[in-house]
């Protein structure tokens, strides 16, 4: 329907644009020829609903419900959370933020912190925190500084570019998101990162993930990272940006997108890059081919369930394609409303949101709804309530609840530890399975007893539970066989004894029979 009326739409649009330009200088950005702002907003809501459905979250529930926040810190939900924060489409940013902070604190207790090699873990989490109103420079009681550890001082742990250009690009995006300053004693300065990125540009203007193979996705992300410098006086940087923009424009095809093998994500990343550079992604003539633009192309990857797919002939929506489309549409939406670009948090942080935390009646209700006996399933809920109440302005109103929540938190953490320890015991002691003998009976039985003390839900978290049962059955079989063997041997021995006695008796009987005969003869 949208396509059929596109000519008419265009006329109206042209008229509207001209009028708008004449009448109101504020509304400077033209809408898309086919998709209105409302259409874009509807599509974004569709993606969020798709993700909810994918995680079995009720459509009417807030996206930041337990099934979503439980994976805070993993890329599967982090990018969605970033978009949701940018769109202000949740009333409960705190739910995700507190779980994310908790994730960071827990991860920092391990030797590799967030990750052994991937600096981008720090970057993604920092950006999500900013989007939700958190502060990545002081996380948790120990005031962990994700910006320092993940960008300018990353080299203390591992090279910033262990993942290739990705690590540099996202470090730069993160540093510029709040215009973080690098201290004098920093391992890496912002300029060094920029230079390092510029040096990796291919002759054709593109950037690569692998060797020197041009990559649309990476070229677009690199442009996003370099976008704050497009107005700078540095001619070298400017030239680099222009060549990369030209590369993307040259590889756009008739449908407005890129060769299908690049996936819909390449289109999304290009939209984000152009918005960051201040280039109108749907009206700039460099990015309109055969009357088709990037948004037309992106929309062709939309599936009937509201999600987005990776390639045109894919039958199913992909979570990654959806998340990137959502970020791209968020970018367009912000661009058309004259807001700062997607990863630019300088002007509109919402740190206030975090500063006003009230433990409300609904939270009290949720606390009361907790079961007496808790399982690891309740971890998210307890963590959420505990974090919220300990940060709340009115925390002194509920000292008992706070204490009880703390106890519950400790209790569940103990269960989690126990599950881990049982898993380790099974892994270390049960294999190879063929070597299990009756000598292992005590070990197997003690693990089994440990498992049985757990709640049903927690028992399912035991890896190799089947193998434990198997080992136990094997040992029981062995023991039973041994008992039966012993009995059999006993019976056998008795039989032999019986037979020997019988034989002896018979021989004696024979002798006795013969004796009288002999006597008779003697007589």
């Amino acid at each position: 329907m949208l396509n059929k009326s596109s000519k008419l739409n265009k006329l109206i649009l042209l008229f509207a644009t001209v009028t708008a330009l004449l009448l109101s200088p504020i509304n400077a950005f033209a809408e898309h020829k086919d998709y209105s702002n409302a259409d874009i907003e509807k599509t974004m809501q569709g993606i969020i609903d798709w993700k909810k459905n994918d995680l079995d979250i009720d459509k009417s529930d807030d996206i930041f419900s337990a099934d979503f926040t439980v994976t805070a810190g993993s890329p599967s939900t982090d990018w969605y959370a970033l978009a949701v924060g940018r769109l202000d489409s949740s009333d409960n940013n705190y739910a995700y933020l507190s779980m994310l902070e908790n994730y960071v604190v827990e991860k920092y207790k391990t030797a590799t912190m967030l990750d052994d090699t991937k600096a981008t873990e720090w970057h993604r989490i920092s950006l999500v925190m900013l989007s939700l109103g958190g502060d990545p420079t002081q996380v948790g009681d120990d005031k962990i500084n994700l910006i320092s550890d993940g960008t300018y001082n990353r080299e203390l742990f591992s090279p910033l570019d262990s993942q290739g250009i990705n690590g540099l690009v996202w470090a730069l995006i993160t540093l510029n998101s709040m215009d973080y300053k690098t201290p004098d004693n920093a391992c890496t300065t912002k300029d060094e990162i920029v230079d390092s990125i510029l040096s990796k540009q291919n002759r054709d203007g593109s950037f690569s993930l692998i060797d020197n193979t041009p990559d649309i996705d990476i070229t677009a992300m690199t442009l996003t990272a370099l976008s704050p410098y497009h107005k700078s006086d540095n001619m070298k940087t400017k030239a680099c940006i222009n060549r990369a923009v030209d590369y993307l424009s040259a590889h756009q095809n008739k449908s407005g997108g890129f060769a299908d093998e690049n996936g819909s994500e390449a289109i999304s990343q290009t939209i984000i890059a152009l918005c960051s550079l201040g280039i109108d992604p749907v009206n700039d003539t460099r990015f309109i081919k055969d009357n088709h633009d990037l948004l037309d192309a992106l929309m062709s990857y939309k599936t009937s369930d509201g999600g987005f797919k990776h390639q045109l002939d894919d039958s199913k929506s992909s979570s990654i394609s959806g998340e990137q489309a959502l970020l791209a549409l968020t970018s367009i939406n912000r661009f058309q409303n004259g807001m700062s670009s997607l990863y630019d948090f300088k002007t509109d942080t919402k740190t206030k949101a975090v500063n006003h935390i009230i433990f409300n009646e609904n939270d009290v209700k949720r606390y009361k709804a907790l079961h007496e006996k808790l399982t690891t399933k309740d971890y998210t809920e307890v963590m959420y309530l505990y974090n919220k109440l300990s940060d709340a302005e009115n925390k002194n109103d509920y000292p008992e609840i706070l204490k009880s929540l703390k106890d519950k938190k400790v209790e569940i953490e103990a269960v989690r530890k126990k599950i881990e320890s049982i898993n380790a015991k099974i892994l270390n002691n049960l294999y190879p399975f063929d070597d299990i003998t009756s000598d292992d009976a005590d070990m197997v039985e003690s693990i089994y007893k440990d498992v049985k003390t757990l709640d049903k839900y927690d028992q399912k978290q035991i890896l190799g539970y089947e193998d434990l049962l198997k080992a136990r059955t094997k040992i029981h079989t062995n023991q039973r066989s041994m008992i039966i063997e012993t009995i059999a041997v006993g019976v056998f021995a008795m039989l032999i004894v019986l037979i020997i006695i019988r034989l002896k008796k018979r021989r004696q009987a024979k002798k006795e029979n013969q004796m009288p005969a002999d006597d008779n003869i003697d007589w």
């Binding site: 890329p75 090699t117 290739g164 692998i210 193998d467 049962l469 059955t473 059999a488």
Partner: protein, 183 residues
């Protein structure tokens, strides 16, 4: 007299048979403890794990991993081994069973932690993604082919050959190796 000897003999036979040949198990117990035994009518798949590509990129390998216990001389971590295929088994199921039974270290992210809704193998035998250069990590091939899907989404059928291979170049080096083998 002869009858007695016969009885003794058969008693010995019975007892010997009991001792030698029989575990006393119910049907359920038998099924549980013999589920992974290969019988003539079992459906099976083959699995191998190797990191041969590291041998050609040894200079890129993390120094802490430059030991034979991590990277065997021939690059083979698990030689082609036959495993019983259970109903609904995926590439991930077979791998996790095999590494458990062979005491090979493995670390993965569960399906709910990844956007692919599939488990993701981070490391096998202490070799992790990015352990050997920018484009390194674990990949798998089923019957010699790579797939777009995650390992816990690919269901296996009788006779399938699963190869877990470490790549040092986003899988490109595995494709080349395939071509060579085909030639």
């Amino acid at each position: 007299m002869k009858k007695d000897i016969l009885i003794i003999f058969s008693a010995i036979l019975v007892v010997a048979a009991l001792i030698m040949g029989m575990d006393f198990q119910s049907v359920d117990e038998y099924y549980l403890t013999h589920i992974d035994d290969i019988k003539p009518d079992s459906q099976t798949v083959f699995l191998s794990i190797d990191c041969k590509t590291i041998l050609e990129n040894y200079d890129k390998l993390d120094d802490n991993l430059k030991f034979e216990k991590y990277v065997p001389k021939d690059g083979i971590i698990l030689k082609k081994t036959e495993y019983v295929l259970r109903k609904g088994d995926t590439v991930f199921d077979i791998l996790s069973r095999a590494v458990r039974h062979n005491k090979i270290q493995m670390e993965y992210k569960g399906a709910n932690e990844t956007a692919y809704k599939s488990a993701y193998i981070e490391g096998i035998n202490y070799l992790y993604e990015l352990s050997c250069g920018e484009g390194s990590g674990w990949s798998f091939l089923v019957n010699g082919k790579m797939t777009e899907y995650g390992c816990s989404q690919v269901k296996l059928k009788d006779g399938d050959v699963v190869e877990w291979k470490y790549t040092c170049n986003f899988g490109e080096d595995l494709k080349q190796a395939d071509d060579k083998e085909m030639k």
